[in-house]
Symmetry: D3
Subunit: 245 residues, 6 copies
């Protein structure tokens, strides 16, 4: 049940405590993939999971701008401060919970959001009237997760399956050729870089030419299934604040 | 040029200083119109204006949750605090401006956002490196503006033209019958109510049965034209901060 | 009962839940009217209403500096950020309420404060232990409200009645001659200006030479009566927070 | 030159860098003195000093509510949080400075404000474009300072001279009889009390029956003279921020 | 019981409601005493008091950086904003209290922290679930307190007893010779200086050559005894919030 | 050069741009290791690295309380909010940088601090006048990193080498027996737990009985060497803010 397209009366009739909040980013994804890649992917996973879950699940509209200051040297990248992002997520989860949808999985499509989502969902669990938990789709695709990169084979594949019109397939070769092999500039296990332009010229990390729509379909299936499993695991969680327990 | 669907390389190639930031809300719009009405309408106006404007215009992804605590008693309504909303808008405008798109019209679809947008855009103009200005579409449709209401003829008409599949036309009669004639509970010119449930049982103000797709087309045309006129008016504004001038 | 001049023991003896909090501004009012116009006017209205109301009403000291950054290019204009202003008002209302005076009308004399007062009083009603509501005197003077302007006939008349020594009557002609006909610089219904110096050279909008002490007396009477009617309307409001209702 | 009663054109004509910002409090001052004692006293000192100083001095309207949570158990006491108070003072000083009045003495009438004023003025001096300094009148009356108390002989005397109609002289005896000898509940040099009701039943500390209008005149004269000396000392201070020097 | 060196199981076994939180500063203390003087002294006092108190007392690790912006022109001085410092102290006290150690004496070694500690502990007492109170050791050494200065005889003596290896005794003469007689630059009772470099060239105020280890031992004994007396006084205080009482 | 034990004059004489800021935590480390484990370990690594580095390195005092709310159900655990912690670190780094020590490695001993340190150091690099980077010692010990756990073999070994008096070796067996094999409660790759008590009864994760002083010596040597390599890598970094580059 996508809230954006649902009336309040139909929303009220839904018998569920479960909600999904897709969270994306608007940021460079190389010369071949759109700035909205992370949002489109998160929405696709949320939609697939809600569609296949046995019981009703509320799907909130996707938050389209996240923590992406690290890509700011690439045109079109949008970002908020970490504090603003956390507040936005916390407020939206709080309003979802006010309607009884108080077991919320935040379906995330962007690596840069992970730490902030972990922080804010733990805060919600401890201090607010809701249980919230982050779910980052590309961490839930089995061994494929190791090939993540940025605008690389995973994200590109997902798009080629879920929103193929947004991918410039004719640019995949150039995207790979000018991309970087790895994320960051490393000294031991410390990343010396704070921005992606320090280690990639075109924004790409990994080889998007290894992407395919078939792989995308598999990734979507794996992550949607994992998300449904997560919904099973949280549906009976106590949404009450725990800070004083 | 919709950023969500554009690559950073194509975005960089756009020769423009102009950007549109659609801002909506996820909130009750009666039993007949979807919770995403304000977002869908704002997106439609932004898309139409960008499409017909003579020069390129960047369109950011829509901010889907705004200031709607006043509708919180109706299921599905989402909101952020005013502070969070202002911070989110300010950060997004700031990142748009960092790429040279520093004359930004915030295309708004929700009355509850107006005061906060006026505040934050004035702050941006005075203190940041951007010129930003709010544009609320239903204030720019000539004499029709007087019939605004909430989930009434204007918003419903716009949807019936721009996203007809989201409107339950079979519920228009009941929506009108159970709705309210006016917004607020008045003592002189003071509104005693802080929440909409104090004066409307089903969330409706005004008569949505007077809506039509034809009227929606006219409203979209009028507001998109007004928005293009606004772009003409701001394209040469100085984006520098004015606080110390 | 003006708190400033009352002892705590006498204040404690007052049997009432009603309080008035005058809120003004220190900002340019043309060459003929003082920087404290908005404060003086708000105090006059609050005093008149408290004096004529049937039951005791607590009157707090006036908040003298509000949201007036838009007039900052004119000497003597003082302002706080919107956040500071809202916090100040919220804290003062909270302390009034702590003594049982928890139905508070904020008597406002400045247009620039209106949106912030609406925001903060709604927040108080929903989340704090008080009922608060803004009352802007020049919106409550019948058809005269249409002639408001800035430092124009209404404000000047009120002063000529309530604090005539502060008005330079010999400058009224020049004030009118160099003033502006209307507030703002408009493109459709969008005000392109953020500061008043963009559209008025001497700070005046409207014709203060049309002011008179007689009109001022009428304005004071009308607004004080309207304020008493508002007190009647709110005296039995539940002051408890509503956020979780 | 009191800004409240001055036009912006006359304010602009004033040739000075000096401003006074009176800061008071609305809080219990025993059964005999008004809640506005601290504000009235601060205003009297500022007015006297501005009147006798050789050059023009701008006098801002008094900030009427300060840090007085410690008196909250006594009816009529108003307060803001320390953060709100500091922000309010900082913003007002900043707007004074924007007009060239950037050497600001904050004329304080309330002990509870002292620490916060010291903090915020140091912040202004180091980080903003102004020089600001707090001046608490009852610390500047020679040996009399030792008799300060609360609603005691000093404050009551000042009022009996500057605003005699606000003092209930017939209650002085009772005020003294039920008052406390000293401020606080002490263990060594640590005050165990956080609120004044812990050590005084009627809010009084010290003996207000020892007050007199003559003493008040002397106190006003001493403190106004000390304030003029302070203006001499700060008039040539560099108002620029020092943080990076 | 020093938490730093204690296991959680042993901490849990402690039967006490009392805790000490040492708070220091890292800031210049002349050419002869270390930057950590205030922290070392606060720790010594807390350790001595906890050691001699009849019942168990929890000792938290010392907060090493406080409010010392006033010494920033001297190398090695570290500081936080006042807001950050207050938040840090409040959070630490809150976590101490969560374990039942909810009568907390904040053992302070730095004059610049005093006002902020008074503010934050009063806030804790009124609004949180703990009783907290500041104790500044050099205010609790009888008549010696008058000789405080900065890096003067008191602090230097304390160090020569408690951490003699950190004092350069061979520099005491030069430290005294180049130091200042008094703190501040005074106009009446107003300190015109905001930073210590305005009135001392080497950071010293007072005569450290008058210090001795014997005096240090006496100071430690006096202050530790005073702190034990304070623990006696607060051990039965109600730790509940008082704001709504 | 440990600032705590150094005079400002000696600090000023140090010719270096490099500083280390140890950051620990006060939190449960099982029945055998002290609450201060993370602080003690971070200090040991910083001290070792500074001692063996070819050029002078400033060592700030350790921040003793960090982000440890997840351990709050175990007695003695102290924590601050994430916001407070980030502000504290940012302020301290800023004051280090003000003295020219503007290439700062934050030497961290606690996993719960990592995300917040990454966030705040990136903010410093982009917006402040300093280059800062986090270094977490147990991530820099080669393959040993995989055995981290909590209060497990790595942390316990480090302590047995660096602060052996703080470890209860007689409790190692029981600590291991009652501990947990792994961190978290997992559904796929999502950790359902927000607090450590959800998956460990005594706070231990991993087998501390596998610890040894010899291993501790190796860990200290490896991590100190890695830290020195990091200092080499950052010593010529540009400390200027990059936000507008």
């Amino acid at each position: 049940m996508h809230l954006e397209e649902t009336t309040w009366t139909d929303a009220e009739a839904a018998e569920t405590h479960l909600a999904l909040l897709p969270v994306g980013s608007t940021e460079q994804h190389g010369p071949h993939a759109p700035l909205g890649t992370d949002t489109l992917d998160a929405e696709a996973v949320a939609e697939a999971a809600a569609g296949q879950y046995a019981d009703p699940v509320v799907v909130a509209p996707a938050i389209p701008v996240g923590i992406a200051e690290e890509h700011r040297q690439f045109a079109g990248t949008l970002w908020t401060s970490e504090d603003t992002f956390r507040s936005y997520v916390r407020d939206v989860v709080g309003s979802l919970a006010s309607h009884g949808w108080d077991r919320v999985a935040v379906v995330n499509g962007h690596g840069g959001n992970i730490a902030a989502l972990r922080e804010v969902t733990a805060r919600i669990v401890r201090h607010d009237d809701a249980f919230a938990i982050p779910f980052t789709w590309f961490d839930e695709v089995g061994d494929h997760s190791a090939e993540m990169g940025h605008a690389g084979p995973l994200e590109t594949s997902m798009l080629r399956h879920a929103a193929p019109e947004t991918v410039h397939e004719d640019r995949l070769g150039a995207a790979a050729a000018d991309g970087s092999d790895g994320w960051g500039e490393w000294q031991g296990r410390v990343n010396l870089a704070v921005d992606s332009h320090e280690f990639t010229d075109n924004g790409v990390v990994g080889d998007p030419s290894e992407s395919s729509a078939d792989l995308g379909e598999e990734l979507l299936d794996r992550s949607a299934t994992a998300l449904c499993d997560l919904l099973d695991a949280i549906r009976d969680r106590d949404p009450g604040p725990r800070a004083t327990e």
